[in-house]
């Protein structure tokens, strides 16, 4: 136990946790949106994120991005990366819905069948990017798919430096960008769901699908919309991840997805603001825990948090609010 280390650098650990949690929160939105409307855990959402990171990687690779480009170019690369990742992730999420979930919904399959399908899909995507694409594209994109199942590095777009220091807490430019960008994306989504016509449709279907259909809301379109929105958020998370950590791998989705799911449940699954709160909270708890014990216990901490939350407050911190009231 390293209490001195934790207390001595509490501010630093909090900042680290917040910037980590912001990425969890963005991914958590995908789980929360789909769960809020369909009451379905889209287990394959972690792979939606993974596809996003590969899209960013391929883009930067094709553009021939070098380490530490000048500021103007860096911004261009980031904006292009956001667009490409959002399209790739949103498209993947939509494809999942059309190919797998829609036929199951037609048959009124029990929830566990959805979950098993989602797990199978997740495995398919992991293998697609770990084994099949390297075989097919290994010669075309050697820097991306040259070595199957390997960690692939990305160029550093923004050099990490400490922007300002408060007490003994340093805040780096990357941490600030990640946090601000993530919160901005979420604010945008929150506005979209709560203020626009489409958002009203989403809330209506979440509250009561039959009544919403009677009022002229096109259910299938709402369902497609939430998958795409969740995918776009995962794409944004993928870009921020690529910028901050600078690597990807076919299997990064698994643990990250579980953590994002934990964040969603922690905040109250189905609740958009809950996802933000849950993500940030989980990020902080994880960093504190890793400091207290040792960093190789980090993943255990997230799972223990999940179990404890589900046992004592399964509706999460803010409650499940996007959808109908639940028993």
């Amino acid at each position: 136990m390293h209490f001195d280390e934790l207390i001595g650098h509490l501010g630093q650990h909090t900042v680290d946790g917040l910037s980590k949690g912001a990425i969890y929160a963005l991914i958590a939105l995908g789980y929360t949106l789909v769960y809020g409307v369909l009451r379905l855990i889209n287990f394959a959402h972690s792979e939606v994120f993974m596809v996003g990171t590969f899209a960013v990687l391929i883009l930067w690779n094709q553009l021939g991005v070098e380490n530490n480009p000048p500021v103007g170019q860096a911004i261009l690369f980031l904006v292009l990366g956001l667009i490409v990742a959002a399209v790739a992730s949103g498209g993947t999420a939509l494809a999942l819905e059309r190919v797998a979930y829609r036929p199951l919904r037609r048959k009124n399959a029990p929830p566990l069948i959805f979950l098993i399908t989602a797990i199978g899909l997740s495995l398919v995507f992991v293998e697609l990017f770990g084994q099949v694409l390297p075989k097919l594209l290994g010669g075309v994109l050697p820097d991306v798919f040259g070595r199957p199942r390997q960690i692939v590095g990305m160029p550093t777009i923004i050099e990490q430096k400490t922007l300002f220091t408060i007490g003994n807490t340093g805040i780096t430019n990357i941490q600030l960008i990640v946090f601000v960008a993530a919160v901005a994306m979420m604010a945008l989504l929150d506005w979209f769901i709560n203020r626009t016509r489409y958002g009203r449709g989403v809330r209506a279907v979440a509250q009561n699908p039959e009544t919403a259909a009677l009022m002229g809301v096109n259910q299938e379109r709402v369902i497609m919309l939430i998958f795409v929105l969740g995918g776009i958020m995962a794409g944004a998370a993928a870009l921020l991840w690529s910028m901050r950590f600078g690597f990807t791998q076919n299997s990064i989705g698994f643990v990250l997805g579980l953590k994002a799911f934990t964040a969603a449940v922690l905040g109250g699954i189905g609740n958009l603001r809950g996802a933000l709160l849950g993500g940030l909270f989980l990020g902080i708890v994880e960093v504190y825990g890793a400091t207290l014990f040792a960093s190789n216990w980090e993943d255990v901490i997230a799972f223990v948090v999940l179990i404890v939350v589900l046992m004592f407050r399964p509706t999460g911190l803010l409650g499940e609010s996007l959808g109908r009231a639940r028993a």
Partner: protein
């Protein structure tokens, strides 16, 4: 394409039901004779040399694995499938952390039976025992089963009250926790270094062992298949007992079951404990045959493979899940070109089976009826999401 698959599937279903009906029409002694012949074939399999059938053997291809070794793996996977079938198929609880119990079983025999384990070393020191002392294999078997049952109850107690999909994710977390603990708790498990010299029925692995050696896998297969047969018999009896009927009732409608006087939590916990014990037994055999284990052998992909065996085979039906286990363990070994893509194929198989045929290849009749009822309901109320 999909229609072609569908019609092929229809033919297979008619064939299967035909076989089932004919089997049930046989007299008792004819059935007994049939079973005896089947069991004899099972024991004969590792020696398989009938001309025309040798292509089945995995060592008939270049670089193929030892045939008896592959059969052994099939057998322990069948044990896993039978255990997981109690949890998923009978009680209707999706357990994605089954590898955790498998790992606990394997680690029980390693920690108590191997002279290289920190636990055995500690006991030797405390009680002034000679450095060659370790717990006997048969007692390790007992320890493995007790430990896995306890861990099943410990996991189930807090989590079985959760909704089904939450339970699935929590168990997934459990499987990962077990693996990470095995990796990080170096003082207990030797961490990533792993534990060697895990004993078999004749004690620690050594060249003097006459039957259960490291090279010849046949005795190991015979041992495993014996366990499989005993467990199939026991689980079969359990399925047709009051407990088995309670599981089905809880699976199909928990509230209705509770109203009829079946306490769902109690029976779910039983399913968890019994399933865990079977997983532990399987892990025990795995550790004992391998003679060496480390945490990397118990990753989450295997949990998903286990679930795939059950759902592809036909959850709820013991013949179905056993077939699923054998297929998923055997095919990548026999068809090596496909081994690289096996996880992809397993994933695709899960998705396709769930979309086209959620009751699995060899369905449980009751489960199939329940699913078609739900589909019929969906047609009546098309607006339902």
């Amino acid at each position: 394409m999909i229609n072609k698959i569908r019609s092929a599937d229809q033919r297979r279903v008619t064939l299967l039901t035909g076989i089932g009906d004919r089997w049930r029409a046989l007299t008792k002694w004819q059935q007994a004779l049939g079973l005896a012949a089947f069991v004899a074939i099972l024991y004969y399999l590792p020696l398989l040399g009938i001309p025309g059938l040798t292509w089945l053997r995995t060592d008939s291809i270049q670089g193929g694995n030892n045939w008896a070794g592959v059969l052994f793996v099939c057998a322990i996977y069948v044990l896993v499938a039978i255990g997981l079938n109690v949890v998923v198929g009978l009680a209707g609880l999706l357990d994605l952390g089954y590898i955790g119990f498998f790992a606990i079983g394997a680690y029980s025999v390693a920690l108590f039976g191997s002279v290289n384990s920190p636990v055995v070393k500690w006991i030797q020191q405390e009680f002034n025992l000679p450095p060659t002392w370790a717990v006997t294999w048969a007692i390790c078997l007992f320890i493995a089963i007790v430990l896995t049952m306890i861990s099943g109850v410990l996991l189930g107690w807090p989590t079985l009250r959760l909704r089904g999909d939450y339970l699935a994710i929590v168990t997934l977390g459990f499987g990962e926790i077990i693996r990470i603990v095995a990796r990080n708790a170096t003082g207990l498990t030797n961490g990533p270094v792993g534990i060697s010299a895990i004993p078999g029925p004749e004690g620690a692995p050594s060249p003097d062992n006459k039957v259960f050696g490291l090279i010849d896998a046949k005795p190991w297969y015979w041992l495993a298949i014996t366990f499989v047969l005993i467990m199939v018999f026991l689980v079969r009896r359990l399925e047709h007992s009051r407990v088995g009927r309670a599981w089905l009732a809880v699976r199909e409608d928990e509230d209705a079951a509770a109203v009829m006087g079946v306490y769902p939590f109690k029976f779910k916990l039983w399913a968890f404990a019994i399933g865990a014990a079977l997983g532990g037994l399987s892990g025990f055999l795995f550790g004992s045959r391998n003679a060496f284990i480390d945490p990397t052998q118990f990753n989450a992909n295997l949990s998903i493979l286990f679930v795939a065996m059950v759902v592809v085979g036909g959850s709820g039906n013991m013949i179905g899940v056993s077939l699923g286990a054998v297929l998923l363990a055997y095919l990548p070994e026999r068809f090596r070109d496909f081994a690289d893509y096996r996880w992809l194929v397993f994933g695709l198989a899960m998705v396709l089976v769930m979309i086209l045929r959620p009751q699995g290849l060899v369905p449980s009749r009751r489960r199939a009826r329940e699913l078609s009822d739900r589909a019929a309901e969906a047609e009546e109320v098309p607006a339902r999401v």
